[in-house]
């Protein structure tokens, strides 16, 4: 019995020592690793600065940068270091604009991180793949665009999202040749991201690409196009949005009303919107649209409001009455509601 107990204590003691050893080892390893990464960061920062602002006006050759980075361990054989270098590159490029940005882009295309991003494209793991695509478009390595375009219908949502964003960054308005014909649906969030990226990189609208895809029947694509029209304030293309006001799908109508909100309309367009209001099957949306119409026209159109008062829809009537009341047509509202009272009393 005693021997067994001693043995147990011995074993437990051994385990304890083992745990201590692991902790000690991990501490030392982390310390070394940290200093290694810091060294890479320091070297990178000083090399970048020398490259951007060379002494005495001489050009600082990119091979010097490459050699210095290799000397501190950013070699293809060390994947962790290369990944750290890529993150540094993206960070550097993100903090600069103008001339320096272009210089850096040139530098990074000359000292590519040994195809690390590109090899990620062939990975089977989705998170590696998505990260690779992201790195490629963040660093604008346009040479890989063909590999990326292939991923736009990838079954994994994160991969195809990054691929679509990359297409917008690289192709700009031309990406509209592909984006409306994707096999999978696109979330609202992704639509917004695409519109924002397009606006950030290509603020000059190229309407010819837009016009070519008006025929698309994909729900997300129609919404995407409407959002683009709104973001770029393309008032010549408002008719496309107006067409969707009485669409059978709730979401399409919702988007159309939302996108229309930032535009002023011509007389005919306004008339068309007013006509379409009566064809919308949802009261909430009708009220929204009516408020928009009131907001953009200086004088309330009495004919239009009279017509609304006759729809028989209580909520809509009340909103119309409110608008009339606030614009000094109290008499008309009173008349309308009193006439109902009389009717009810008789009944």
């Amino acid at each position: 019995m005693e021997e067994k107990l001693l043995l147990l204590i011995q074993i437990l003691f051994l385990v304890l020592i083992l745990v201590w050893c692991t902790i000690g080892f991990s501490l030392i390893y982390r310390k070394i690793r940290k200093s290694q990464l810091n060294r890479i960061e320091r070297t990178f920062a000083s090399e970048i600065s020398k490259f951007l602002y060379p002494a005495h006006g001489e050009e600082y050759h990119y091979l010097n940068v490459q050699r210095a980075l290799q000397a501190v361990g950013a070699k293809p054989s060390k994947k962790g270091n290369i990944q750290y270098l890529i993150d540094l590159m993206i960070r550097a490029q993100r903090s600069m604009l103008g001339n320096n940005y272009n210089k850096l882009r040139l530098l990074f295309s000359q000292i590519p991180p040994y195809g690390a991003s590109q090899s990620k494209l062939n990975s089977r793991k989705w998170y590696v793949k998505a990260r690779g695509i992201r790195e490629i478009y963040e660093m604008e390595q346009v040479q890989y665009i063909h590999d990326i375009t292939r991923e736009r219908n990838n079954p994994n949502i994160f991969v195809r999202r990054e691929a679509q964003i990359a297409m917008v960054v690289f192709l700009g308005w031309e990406s509209l040749r592909f984006l409306p014909y994707l096999k999978k649906e696109m979330t609202l969030w992704q639509q917004i991201k695409i519109v924002e990226k397009l606006y950030a990189h290509y603020p000059d609208a190229q309407i010819k690409y837009l016009k070519k895809v008006y025929g698309t029947q994909r729900p997300y694509a129609q919404e995407l196009l409407m959002r683009i029209i709104r973001k770029f304030n393309l008032f010549t293309e408002v008719d496309y949005i107006i067409d969707f006001l009485n669409h059978e799908s709730f979401d399409r109508r919702e988007t159309a009303i939302y996108c229309l909100n930032s535009f002023k309309l011509t007389e005919e367009q306004l008339q068309e919107v007013k006509d379409k209001l009566f064809k919308i099957p949802n009261t909430e949306q009708q009220v929204q649209l009516m408020q928009y119409v009131t907001q953009i026209s200086t004088e309330p159109d009495l004919q239009f409001f009279d017509k609304i008062l006759q729809t028989g829809n209580d909520i809509l009537e009340l909103s119309a009455a409110e608008v009339l009341w606030n614009n000094g047509y109290e008499e008309r509202v009173r008349e309308f509601y009193y006439s109902q009272y009389k009717l009810k009393e008789v009944i």
């Binding site: 960061e41 320091r42 990178f44 920062a45 000083s46 970048i48 600065s49 020398k50 951007l52 602002y53 060379p54 002494a55 540094l88 960070r91 550097a92 993100r94 903090s95 600069m96 604009l97 103008g98 001339n99 320096n100 940005y101």
Partner: protein, 116 residues
Amino acid sequence: MAKTALIIQQDLILLRVLERMSLTHQYRCKAIRALNELDIEDQNENFDLIISDILFDGIAPMDYVHQLQEIIRHKSLVIITSMGQKKVRQEILDIGNVAGFFAVPLNFDKVEQMLS
């Protein structure tokens, strides 16, 4: 005599680039990552230019700017920070005696104009 510049940036890349930039404009330059790396001797210096971030551990941005202006003698102060919201910008400029406010990402050419 060469002009002097003090650069305080947490981000190492920005720090080095700004340092090189002022060196090429014949500035004598001290580049540090936080205010506590400052020497006693530096406090006697009258810097021609200070380029600083406003985001540091343990101190609010506005307090930091006030303190900086109090502690270190200088001729002009430029703020470069990744905290570049309009509200912050307005608050900083309201303090007064701030020659410029740049939000990251920034165009270095504009900062360079201030150096020459």
